[in-house]
């Protein structure tokens, strides 16, 4: 049945009915094209918005030292609580805590050649990069080797880097030695850094600074957690931690202050909810598009087959068997939807790739000042595209099948006289 004659009949019918073929094909191409464009645009929105929060979704906590608000056990209110090594030891015993990085803060003056600049020097562990979301623009951040060997290495911020480069001929500060409070540190990296006014911000290994300064009090402790996945888990953990720290420092567990415990996780969970909402939104749009595509394609197919009722009647009078007619109609729709569906798919994906590359080249869609993006990588998963195309093809063929079946089933004379 599916011999060369059969296929040449089909392709001839499509070629001879150019207008019908092109109109039907255009409807299908357009449906798939729009589906891809909208899904891609939705994805672009999602990627843009989620990109802003992406490095913030994490299981990190920060404890800040603060002053008490309530009198307790003979202590007056307003006592300033400094965090100590006892707090670090406490954290290390908690099974929810993964890794702790104290923040050992020292003010100082950085000297390089003629240039001097006041900086804040922070002794931290390598994990701090992830906790604070520090971005390295040149070189590297601190690593375990720096920690273990207590190396005198330093990561400086972008502004400081630029100021220091101005007085040297060299293209980079990496490998140069700078002096802070008369101690030499080798520069290993430059961070994007959030500069506070004129102050520079430098990071050195915690172990190195601890050896030099022998510090026992901290303004800030940071750590990562594991196994705390819900808001409830995190709030329970936070309240429990607060009570334990209160016991160490003898302040009231009821005290709203004393220490601040900040959970990025709890903030992140809010963000995750926003992502999910965007996701649902995109799927609703996509499915609505697909439905309208299915309706459009089905309608065109239905009308096309209706239009051919006379022809079907004539063919039957000439001795065509129902199966032969049905197969040729179904195959015609299949050929038409597949070819034009494929064209629509290629066009849609192509256009979005072009849009994407132009946007990447020009940096459109992101706001450099704010470091915010609203529209990033507007492309769609190829498997979703193929699935959507298949759904349209199948629904198109199915829609053509019903009227074809009807006109095949009616008496030839009725089909021939159909107007």
């Amino acid at each position: 049945m599916f011999n060369r004659d059969f296929w040449s009949e089909i392709f001839m019918a499509l070629r001879r009915n150019k207008l019908r073929t092109i109109l039907t094909g255009f409807a299908i191409s357009w449906g798939i094209f729009m589906l891809i464009v909208l899904l891609s645009a939705g994805n672009g929105l999602k990627n843009g918005v989620t990109g802003n929060f992406a490095d913030r979704i994490k299981n990190t906590y920060t404890i800040w030292s603060s002053s008490t608000e309530l009198p307790y056990k003979g202590y007056k209110a307003g006592r300033f609580i400094m965090l100590t090594n006892k707090d670090i030891q406490l954290l290390e015993t908690l099974y929810q805590v993964e890794e702790v990085s104290p923040v050992l803060s020292k003010g100082g003056t950085l000297i390089f050649g003629e240039k001097s600049k006041s900086v804040s020097l922070e002794g931290v562990k390598p994990i701090y990069k992830n906790i604070e979301g520090i971005k390295i623009i040149e070189g590297r951040f601190l690593d375990e080797n720096d920690m273990k060997n207590r190396l005198k290495v330093i990561v400086i911020d972008k502004n400081t880097n630029e100021e220091l480069l101005r007085i040297t001929e060299e293209p980079s500060m990496i490998g140069k030695t700078v002096y802070i409070n008369d101690l030499g540190f080798k520069v290993i990296g430059v961070s994007k850094g959030m500069a506070f006014g004129e102050m520079g911000q430098c990071y050195a290994p915690y172990s190195t600074l601890q050896t030099i300064y022998n510090v026992n009090e901290y303004y800030q402790l940071t750590f990562t957690t594991k196994g705390l996945n819900t808001k409830e888990d995190n709030e329970m953990f936070r309240a429990d931690l607060k009570r334990k720290i209160a016991a160490i420092h003898d302040f009231s567990p009821e005290d709203q202050r004393g220490v601040w415990i900040e959970s990025e996780m709890i903030n992140s969970l809010e963000t995750i909810r926003i992502f999910n909402t965007i996701n649902i939104f995109i799927w609703v749009i996509g499915i609505a598009m697909l439905i309208s595509g299915v309706v459009g394609v089905s309608n065109i197919m239905r009308i096309t087959v209706k239009e051919r009722t006379n022809e079907i009647g004539i063919r039957k009078a000439l001795g065509a068997k129902p199966r032969s007619i049905l197969m040729s109609i179904v195959m015609e729709s299949l050929v038409i939807t597949t070819i034009f569906g494929y064209i629509g798919m290629i066009c849609g994906v192509g256009v979005m790739e072009i849009v994407n590359s132009i946007m990447e080249a020009s940096g459109a869609g992101t706001n450099a000042e704010m470091e915010m993006s609203v529209f990033v990588n507007p492309t769609v998963d190829i498997s979703i595209v193929v699935m959507a195309t298949l759904v349209l093809i199948i629904s198109g063929v199915a829609a053509g099948f019903a009227p074809a079946w009807n006109s095949v089933k009616v008496k030839p004379i009725e089909a021939m006289n159909y107007r």
Binding site: D5, S8, E9, A13, R16, N17, N310, E311, G313, I314, R315, K316, A317, L318, G319, A320, K321, P322, R323, S324, V408, K409, K411, P412, I413, M416
Partner: protein, 235 residues
């Protein structure tokens, strides 16, 4: 060749319409029969039943000795393809196929290969003087040419019987005469022919005239077309 026993047909619409109320008719092999009647007399319905384009409610219809009743679509298609050639008032050519392809189409459904069926189709077109028009589409042909194409299409499968429903209905008198001449020549080769018409002149060119009135055969008249003055026969 054709044998109809007490054929009844009712159209069930809002108002049931009893179109054929018991038709008894024999058409012998090689006969040239016309069916005449006013519009609504049931003559087209009768022809459609003969051509298995429509079904009937009661009675028996034998075509070439075989009972045609409650056939499956496939069987009906085979019967039509093998035994019957159709000629319609409105030609019923497929508009997006050339004259040649239209003529070759019944052979496609017989499974004849392309080369052979184009050869055969061309032979039939040539027979009716349409060789030069083989590659033209129906809308590029005159009414007479279209009807000749459809006659070629009806004949290409060498059917036992030709059923023509008002074959001259859409043609002027000169062309009608030509078409009737062709049909008579075809009949002369031994092919049975039934022509439905409401034109007296057309019926006068056949050997047997069946008068139909209100779904019943009113009378059957033997006729000798050779006695007719051919130009007078068609007014």
């Amino acid at each position: 060749m054709l044998k109809l026993n007490n054929i009844n047909k009712t159209y069930f619409g809002a108002q049931p319409l009893h179109v054929l109320k018991g038709i008894n008719l024999n058409v012998e092999e090689g006969e040239l029969v016309s069916i005449m009647g006013a519009s609504g007399s049931g003559k087209s319905t009768l022809l459609n039943i003969m051509g298995i384009l429509d079904n009937y409610d009661e009675g028996d219809y034998y075509l070439a000795g075989k009972l045609v009743k409650n056939l499956s679509e496939n069987q009906a298609a085979e019967f039509r393809n093998k035994f019957i050639g159709f000629i319609f008032q409105s030609f019923n050519l497929i508009p997006f196929k050339t004259a040649l392809e239209n003529v070759a189409l019944p052979l496609f459904y017989q499974g004849v290969n392309r080369k052979k069926r184009n050869l055969m189709a061309m032979e039939y077109l040539d027979r009716f003087g349409l060789k030069d028009w083989a590659d033209h589409y129906p809308n590029e042909l005159s009414g007479g040419q279209k009807q000749r194409v459809s006659i070629a299409r009806a004949l290409v499968t060498s059917p036992k019987i030709i059923l023509a429903d008002e074959p001259t209905g859409a043609l002027d008198s000169k062309t009608s005469a030509e078409v009737m001449q062709i049909l008579r020549e075809v009949n002369a080769t031994g092919i049975t022919m039934v022509i439905v018409t409401h034109e007296r002149g057309i019926a006068n060119l056949t050997r047997k005239i069946v008068y139909l009135k209100d779904g019943l055969i009113e009378s059957i008249e033997e006729n000798d077309p050779d006695k007719m003055d051919f130009t007078k026969a068609i007014k």
